[in-house]
Symmetry: C2
Subunit: 424 residues, 2 copies
């Protein structure tokens, strides 16, 4: 028997307790023993959570309890959760966590602290998709060339709606909030931070990189407009919010999170609505893609319980993060974002007069940027304005950023130019 | 150090040896030890295989060799391979195999024989997709509601070409043979047998069912025509060769392999060319889908080596087939194919005269089958003939089969009717 304490009995915690009880037939058949939720820790014990397990408000009732083998941490937040997990590990308990923010900052310290016990965190990235296991074990014979993921359901729901119905960002955001797909303060999701946390976790498993959120390029979807959607559709692209990890020939790894134009022919361009998907290219296996629900109580709980079953099966044998940190095993360094090489799409709103195009072309030429396709649209609200949409051949991020500053300062530019990277 | 003997050094075996050597950096970082291919067994030692490992023609040089920890079986065939693996297990060696035909018949005997050693078989189903691990471990908290897979690259290549270019089966088959995507005798692939072997392996992990190929419904793609493709496109479907495992409310499981009409909106309908994909619905996690290369030396070798790394990480803890056979754990029985309930599409070629439709409708009505959509096309070759294409509402397989016999015997029917099941 494996006895489990659940710290934090919200939506996911309640699902974990319920599924452990309701699916106990298949869970014990697969793990070879019973897995029993014995105690839940909550802040307010009087609230009805629809679970039948005993509750306490004192976390030490789990952490100091010799009858409990595994601590499931679902309280969220960074500092207090970190303290709880460290105490659990110190007391000889294995830990299963869904806490991506904690892992984005402290995953290597946790790996070091887990001596003789396991830490499972499949639920921290795209709950309904066993991507951690796929990367850490299924593709373990491969050097990973790249990971491209749609890892935030809120962003994908909004972008899918915008593409299908040609409605602007703010309108769809309100709808997403009404449906419960976006929070009242949506910044964490639509600003790209949630996806960035997940990318950092996967990048550790693929590359052993110990980057933090503030080390990498993170952009959200707030500035995507209907014009961008129309341009994308005109040229056979979808706009998706992508997390990208890519190994370059010089041995550096680029990590970035931003909206991207992707050709419609790619499988990942076909992933719509709140669904998540992660495309991984290994040097031997080629491309594989993993698709499923990224959030939701039961999908996340399914991943938590898969980790519990692994622990019940006599421990997780593979190292928590696949292998140790960079320095000790491989020599992969995080690439400076300035060095990104890709294609770009740029949207500008300008006063429609002679000489505009020549000025823009001069700036682009100066920064060694050449244009691939170009579209000009009259502004529907003000006939003196025009919208210019263009994509570039491959060039350097630094050059684009420098050019964008100059483009913004052109006297006829009436709005900050918007840039979206293109992933071919 | 984990020392490996490879029995059968063809395309996959040579890839295994090469990747173990070329990717030894990442493989030892992930597994915590070196994995070394020490000997390969071949029938003809004089043939150049482009591998640097020593070769022998005597399989006992591996099986009776105390220096070898794991036997990789890549010889193919059923009986001899079975004997080789049993001897390896008896001699205390773990085994990794890609042999789906062997597993389709003897997987439970192998599970019984593996005492204190492991058997890895990730490479036996869709090499480039870690689906065995996903089902056995990643989704282990779930009762599996259904598995729908595109598991034969040859079939998917042919059907994709037929859909895109409106070319008939025989023409595309020849092209596939020229490209090396189909064998000179293509029956094993296009007849559905290869996919059936894979389905039986997955069905054991999901349901603990010990069915053999001859117990289940297996149909190939040989009778799909351009008319079927056109009907599918007219009504928003793709035609895919699907392997289906589905648990019914009465606790039985249906296992079947056949071409299917699938709505274009489903993710699995978007999987084209030689690629494989498997959609799994769990009772808690909902749908997840796994996409990648199904064949190829390096993709298959990648799966073989993932199993070796699991073994190097101190053994595979999860039971070989997820859990034991049906009787001992769950009470799932294989459903009789007659009881399948689904929608059907039927194509008939008839002499175009008054009363034809009435006769057909009478037969269908007698068998409680009602028509959903209907299309009649004039025959381009013979103006006296017409092609009738129609789909039904849901009905019973037995009723359709009985009706098909009567439809075939109608005096104005000039060709055996073709039936394709619809998976909504």
């Amino acid at each position: 028997m494996l006895r489990v304490g659940i710290v934090g009995v919200g939506t996911v915690g309640a699902s974990v307790a319920r599924i452990l009880i309701e699916n106990s037939d298949i869970i014990s058949a697969r793990s070879g023993k019973k897995i029993v939720p014995v105690l839940g820790i909550v802040r307010d014990a009087s609230k009805n959570r629809g679970v039948v397990i005993p509750l306490s408000t004192n976390v030490d009732d789990v952490l100091e309890n010799d009858e409990i083998d595994v601590v499931v941490e679902l309280m969220g937040g960074v500092d207090r959760a970190f303290a709880v997990i460290k105490k659990a590990l110190k007391n000889g308990k294995s830990v299963v966590t869904a806490n991506k923010a904690l892992l984005a900052y402290h995953r290597y310290e946790l790996q070091e602290s887990a001596v003789g016990v396991s830490i499972g965190f499949e639920a921290s990235v795209a709950g309904g998709i066993p991507i951690i296991k796929a990367l850490r074990e299924g593709l373990s014979a491969n050097h990973i060339n790249s990971i491209k993921g749609i890892m935030n359901g809120t962003c994908n729901f909004i972008l899918t709606k915008m593409m299908r119905e040609k409605v602007d960002f703010q309108t769809v955001l309100k709808e997403a909030q009404a449906l419960g797909y976006a929070e009242a303060d949506p910044t964490f999701d639509v600003g790209g931070f949630d996806a960035a946390h997940k990318l950092l976790i996967l990048a550790s498993i693929a590359y052993g990189i110990d980057a933090k959120p503030e080390d990498i390029l993170i952009e959200g979807i707030e500035s995507i407009s209907i014009e961008d959607i129309l341009f994308a559709q005109e040229f056979g692209y979808s706009i998706k919010h992508l997390t990208i990890a890519k190994k370059n020939n010089d041995g550096t790894v680029e990590l970035r999170v931003h909206p991207s134009l992707i050709p419609n022919s790619q499988m990942i361009a076909k992933v719509d609505g709140v669904m998540n998907a992660i495309s991984v290219v290994g040097d031997r296996v080629g491309e594989s893609m993993y698709y499923g629900a990224g959030a939701g109580g039961d999908a996340t709980a399914s991943a938590v319980i898969a980790d519990l079953i692994d622990i019940a099966r006599d421990g997780q044998n593979s190292p928590m993060l696949g292998f140790k940190k960079t320095l000790e095993t491989q020599s992969l360094a995080l690439m400076n974002s300035d060095e990104i090489i890709t294609k770009y799409y740029i949207r500008m709103k300008v006063i429609d007069k002679i000489g505009v195009l020549a000025s823009i072309a001069t700036i682009l030429g100066k920064h060694a940027i050449s244009i691939d396709s170009f579209l000009q649209k009259a502004d529907t609200h003000n006939k003196n304005y025009a919208t210019l949409l263009f994509s570039t051949h491959i060039c350097r991020e630094k050059d684009i950023q420098d050019a964008l500053i100059e483009l913004k300062e052109l006297p006829f530019s009436v709005q900050k130019p918007v840039m979206i990277r293109i992933e071919d």
